[in-house]
């Protein structure tokens, strides 16, 4: 049976179920216990699992990231809550020099099964240090896997898969989506990593969207419908591993692609996906692959500016329309 639950509740359920299933799973982070995080995503968990398994930490991101790694190397399966994705920079050393490399450096002898849950997304008027979408950084580092749920359903399924994965996994949740409801089955399920979802089939253009941009692509597709353009919408769900095949198959059918992600455009996620499409579906493309990402500026506080920095259904539809109409978006 499928109910409608919020994204936030879906995350909460995934954690509760995994903690019930496996005693070695525990939760740590700032204000995760009684407060249940500022977003209230974890409310109720400390009541069920106690402060022994739901650990409020000091404001020591590098420190508790390191502790989680050591715990994971010795038989625990920590789920680390990083309050804002912008704090990733603080844990990069532990995450990328230690967690990501330990299994390899030890020749396969040591495992680091941990999940780092954090978030992304702008337009909350939170300023430049609380609005970044930094998943491209971790996607670049071998040894890390990166999941980007775009719905309550995906949030629960991907998180459960992550907890059972024997490697470090970073999950980025879209802050703006926490209160959005979506269908989530009652029963147990997982979503395998490396399997994209085709949210909508179409013929003329492929819209690849990640995380917060999946909905944007969906809305763009509806706008395009009105223009007689049929868009296929694909959500990779994980970018490491990346289900290249599903994307390529789609583009080989539609001959056109727009890739949309809320990280900064320059040296970001769209570059990877677009360059793979351009390389591997080269002979099928009828138009250049277009990339839309967050504008390459720090996120401004002012609402008058902030809203200009993220892709919108209109901007996505506009680009799709232009390549479908054979406009050389970047003239010769």
């Amino acid at each position: 049976m499928t109910r409608e639950v919020t994204f936030s509740k879906a995350v909460n359920e995934a954690i509760a179920e995994e903690m019930r299933r496996d005693k070695s799973v525990f939760l740590m982070g700032e204000d995760v216990a009684e407060a249940g995080t500022p977003f209230k995503v974890l409310s109720g968990l400390v009541e069920e699992f106690g402060t022994d398994r739901v650990l409020d930490t000091p404001i020591s991101e590098p420190g508790f990231m390191g502790i989680a790694i050591g715990a994971a190397m010795t038989g625990s399966r920590p789920i680390v809550d990083l309050m804002f994705g912008d704090f990733l920079y603080l844990v990069m050393d532990q995450l990328c020099n230690q967690a990501a490399k330990t299994h390899y450096m030890s020749g396969g002898k040591l495992n680091v099964p941990l999940v780092l849950r954090t978030n992304l997304g702008a337009t909350r008027r939170s300023g430049a240090q609380h609005s970044q979408s930094l998943h491209a950084l971790v996607a670049h580092i071998p040894g890390l896997q990166v999941a980007l749920p775009s719905s309550a359903f995906a949030a629960k399924g991907l998180l459960k898969t992550a907890v059972r994965n024997d490697n470090p996994v970073v999950i980025f949740e879209d802050k703006l989506m926490y209160q959005e409801k979506g269908p989530v089955p009652e029963g147990e399920y997982q979503i395998p990593f490396g399997e994209a979802e085709i949210l909508r089939e179409g013929e003329h253009v492929t819209l690849v969207g990640t995380s917060s941009m999946v909905q944007v692509c969906g809305e763009a597709a509806e706008i395009l419908d009105d223009d007689g353009i049929s868009a296929e919408v694909i959500d990779p769900r994980t970018i490491v591993p990346l289900d290249e095949q599903t994307i390529l198959d789609s583009v080989k059918k539609t001959s056109r692609a727009v890739v949309v992600d809320e990280g900064h455009r320059n040296f970001g996620v769209t570059a990877e996906i677009a360059s793979r499409i351009s390389e591997k579906a080269f002979y099928y493309l009828d138009a250049p692959v277009i990339r839309l990402g967050a504008m390459d500026v720090p996120v401004p506080f002012s609402p008058a500016l902030e809203d200009l920095t993220v892709p919108t259904p209109e901007s996505v539809a506009d680009m799709a329309r232009r390549i479908c109409h054979g406009e050389h978006v970047h003239g010769a």
């Binding site: 700032e30 204000d31 009684e34 407060a35 500022p38 409020d56 930490t57 000091p58 404001i59 020591s60 590098p62 420190g63 912008d86 704090f87 603080l90 909350r124 008027r125 939170s126 300023g127 430049a128 240090q129 609380h130 320059n266 504008m295 390459d296 500026v297 720090p298 401004p300 506080f301 002012s302 609402p303 008058a304 500016l305 200009l308 920095t309």
Partner: protein, 339 residues
């Protein structure tokens, strides 16, 4: 009134006014939030006024401070005007940062405020670096680094204390211990002794009642003078309290902080009320005079709010300006097309 007091009347009234300015600013900001006229959230400084004012009163314009997410108090105490502050909080072009910073990044470099900071502990290095410039260039300025008890959990603070001590930099680390970081009490997140952590680096350290503006100011004057003379760095822990929740939206907070505790601090240890009583008792000012200060500040705030509400937002073309100094628009620049 004895002579020393008499000599300092101007300073006392300035400190009173500055504390009132902070409180009134915050009340207005809170109202803007509650009436949904402010974008985002802010963190109220009310209750901690004696810290910012007592310390900044000991500084000159040329001295620097670094501030935190709870930064309005430091900004005002260091000399900022309401108009540019409210404009900033509302994301308007006339804000101190042209609306690009917002409450958590408000900076006022003309008065030596190097900026609020939304990374807890994020400005400890910046403050230390400002002190390094001062020392290297023989400027004779002092930098005060404000941060909360929660920030003592950030490793970078230990790193920069070590260097400040090794290099004898003119920096004062001012830890505003308000008993909480977000929704967690300090006891739960700080082992041992905070002051001992600074002392371990050989840094002379003090603890002071952060609700007593005179005590804070006395200590600050002494340490600022000594830091200016090369005796720094110093550490000060200021025991204080935030009267509001962690941020304006943190309304139901009894689960982590009791109402009794809050009302005790508000009634017994309000830094403004207590200082007002002292001013009256010592006959430094009369009730009318003090009431007039409050009224003036309130009028100033109301006018600034009204102005800011009507002020214009930045032009859209500003969105890629100020990314790089010396580059008008960054987007063409990074594509190499600006050359």
């Amino acid at each position: 009134m004895d002579e020393t007091l008499n000599n300092n009347v101007g300073q006392f009234l300035r400190m009173y006014r500055q504390m009132v300015r902070i409180r009134v600013f915050e009340d207005n900001a809170n109202q803007l939030y509650l009436s949904a006229r402010m974008p985002g959230l802010t963190h109220m400084y009310s209750g901690q006024e004696a810290v910012a004012v007592g310390i900044c009163e000991a500084l000159t314009d040329k001295d620097h401070v670094t501030s935190t997410h709870r930064g309005h108090g430091h900004c005002i105490a260091k000399g900022a005007r309401f108009k540019e502050m409210f404009c900033e909080l509302l994301g308007k072009e006339e804000g101190y940062c042209r609306g690009k910073g917002g409450s958590m990044h408000i900076a006022d470099q003309a008065n030596g405020n190097l900026g609020a900071n939304a990374i807890v502990g994020g400005s400890t290095g910046i403050a230390t670096g400002a002190a390094l410039t001062s020392k290297m260039q023989g400027k004779g300025t002092v930098t005060v680094c404000f941060f909360g008890d929660g920030a003592t959990a950030q490793g970078i603070w230990y790193e920069v204390m070590n260097m400040a001590a090794l290099w004898q930099l003119p920096v004062i680390y001012a830890c505003e211990n308000n008993g909480y970081s977000e929704y967690t009490s300090t006891a739960e997140i700080a082992a041992g002794s905070i002051i001992a952590r600074a002392e371990a680096f050989g840094i002379e350290s003090y603890k002071v009642d952060g609700q007593d503006v005179l005590a804070v100011n006395r200590l600050a004057q002494d340490l600022v003078t000594r830091a200016r003379n090369g005796d720094g760095p110093f550490f000060v822990e200021l025991e204080t309290y935030r009267f509001h929740g962690h941020h304006v939206g943190d309304i139901n907070r009894a689960y982590y902080r009791s109402k009794d505790e809050e009302s005790e601090w508000k009634t017994e240890r309000d830094p403004i009320a207590n200082f007002r009583n002292w001013l009256l008792t010592e006959n430094i000012a009369g009730t009318d005079e003090l009431a007039a200060i409050v009224a003036e500040v309130e009028a100033d705030a109301a006018a600034a709010v009204a102005y800011a509400m009507e002020a214009k937002f930045p032009e859209q073309s500003e969105v890629d300006m100020h990314v790089f100094a010396g580059v008008r628009h960054s987007l063409p620049y990074i594509d190499g097309s600006a050359r």
